[in-house]
Amino acid sequence: MNIGVVVFPGSNCDHDCRYVFRDVLGQDVTMVWHKEPSLAGLDAVILPGGFSYGDYLRTGAIARFSPVMQAVKQFAAEGKLVLGICNGFQILLEAGLLPGAMLRNKSLHFICRETYVKVENAATPFTHACKPGQVLKIPIAHADGNYYTDPVTLAGLQANAQIIFRYCTVDGTVTPGSCPNGSLDNIAGLCNAEGNVLGMMPHPERCAEAMLGNEDGRLILASMVEGLKKTKRAEAVI
């Protein structure tokens, strides 16, 4: 599979994404500079974490207008897989590819620690390697992870199983205390209505190798690869 990792000025988790897909999962990885107008030949696109444009004005507010984002919108419209991690999630929100917005963390602190998230929907291309309700330990590192949307949109997300990850306790209970940043409904990650675009604040690429003591993130990234392989095999048969 050919995985594209977009690099904006200020992205800093792009190399970790490349490492996991290329060196841990054995896939081809293409680094895509933000001015690149084409995503031709790519099977999935990752918008990595970091501080694109220094988070100036609002996090992700300027990156959403990078030339590559036209291609990302088209890629998503074609039903292909797009994963936004942390700043990548923020960019997807600002670009309108996912509903809602990010506010400053309730505590005003930049929080850099491990969290537990519950897999609320294991039927997506990003989570099918997980069991429904599985608890994953994944680190977060952000100051603006306080997800917000209006009540009508929230109800729609809930009804449509678009909330993919919720912050929880170690045993999978979703409590206000287990939410590190004040995020609405403990939302740590959500997808679009079609299920091909996922945004998540925690960093799966930081916990995808046994040597680092935590491979929980690998489930998400490997889900993408396995799903793509299945689709390609099915297409080859037809």
Binding site: L57, R58, A101, L108
Partner: protein
């Protein structure tokens, strides 16, 4: 023409910065400050001399980039 733009969080959106500042004012014995909200002030020069066109331009800038209208509102002065 100069545009002076204020971007603020919509009422009802939690503003922890505002709260932190409110507590700080309180601890400095400024007891009468309440409901502190923090926003952004942006100034820019416009080449446009026609007031109507200038206003349309500033409004479009706010809608498209300067404010995230899901969580923020804006007001501006042109002069």
């Amino acid at each position: 023409m100069k545009a002076k733009i204020h971007v603020t969080l919509k009422p009802g959106i939690l503003d922890p910065q505002g709260k932190a500042i409110e507590h700080a004012l309180d601890s400095l014995k400024f007891k009468h400050a309440a409901n502190v909200r923090v926003g952004k002030y942006i100034e820019l020069d416009l080449q446009e001399t026609d007031a109507t066109k200038a206003e349309a331009a500033v409004k479009a800038m706010c809608e498209k980039l300067l404010a995230n209208t899901i969580i923020e509102e804006y007001r501006y002065e042109l002069g």
